[in-house]
Symmetry: C2
Subunit: 203 residues, 2 copies
């Protein structure tokens, strides 16, 4: 039940402004050790600064947490956009790319599941600012997936989207509770089976 009170100073972008260094380091430590398991002092220290500067940029630890999650959410949105521009007018390819990218995340040995979902688990307080961020993110994620399934001309796009969404969400949370040997291939197979089950009838 120990908390992280000192962390190795992280050397990314020594020249970056403190706010960015703090956010970068906080993302690392929050994800790896859990939000409640990291003290603000450890974050400041690892970012090569101190608590006072941290509190000049963030009103509170909760504020820092919310910003940490907001950044992750926006990165995920960028990933969607990136896939959209890489495979323009090919929603099916975007869907496949999303699936394989998610599977890669899950297969990584240092993956600890979805940081947003973890935050919701760690911070049950109903009014916590982090919870709003997570809620909006997950809802938007699902919407994008539904839209993609629909654009791909698949049957019952909302059902398929939920199947895929929940499958991968479950895989991410399960991967940190059990071994993940050969999980990747199996996941891709499951996902593609689901997709082809919603293939409109040829005629």
């Amino acid at each position: 039940m120990s908390t992280v009170r000192s962390a190795v100073k992280i050397d990314r972008d020594e020249r970056a402004p403190p706010r960015e260094r703090i956010l970068a380091v906080a993302a690392d430590l929050f994800y790896r050790n859990g939000i409640r398991g990291v003290g603000v002092e450890a974050i400041a220290e690892a970012a090569g600064t101190n608590k006072m500067t941290l509190y000049r940029h963030f009103d509170s630890k909760d504020d820092l947490v919310a910003e940490y999650l907001r950044r992750l959410a926006s990165q995920a949105n960028s990933a969607w956009d990136r896939r959209a521009t890489r495979f323009p007018d090919d929603p099916r390819a975007q869907l496949r790319a999303w699936l394989t990218e998610m599977v890669e995340h899950i297969g990584a040995t240092d993956d600890r599941g979805c940081a947003l979902a973890n935050a919701a688990v760690e911070l049950p307080e109903p009014g916590h600012p982090a919870r709003r961020v997570v809620e909006e993110f997950k809802t938007a994620q699902r919407e994008r997936l539904i839209a993609l399934c629909a654009a791909a001309g698949l049957n019952e796009p909302d059902m398929l989207a939920d199947e895929l969404f929940l499958l991968l969400e479950g895989a991410r949370v399960t991967a940190q509770c059990m071994g993940r040997e050969r999980l990747g291939d199996r996941l891709v197979r499951m996902g593609e089976t689901m997709i082809s089950a919603h293939e409109p009838k040829k005629r």
Copy 2:
């Protein structure tokens, strides 16, 4: 970022021995507020006893946490056994019963996901005693599900079991991040679609 430091005394089985009262109350508080969010003092108080007695029965808070999770795991195993005796020699019915019971849990407004999975998220420390409990539980759960799918004569029982397992795991973790309106019916439909997709060919 506040922790629970005083809780309403819970009146279940005033006569029960302190160890049981402590475990009952700990289960409640750990689940609702998160493990790291509950102090041992609050548990002892809510159980109508005090910290000293708690520490006479448990070596440490981590020990109490591990026992809390072990009890949950054994309750889940009992549920499997109960379904087996209720529908003897009918694995298909046991599967359906498992699905609907899980969906009921997920639909409950006070559901906060799988307590075991939440514990794994909250306690990232690799050697934490709780992690072994969670790992063994999830593995056993998956094995039982595979065995059931196989006994039901379904195709590729391990793939189907994983699909169902991950679908529900994902649903439990997602339900606390988003709204769950009409999620229940959809889940049952998805599960049954998956099952029938593995139906052996009629001949």
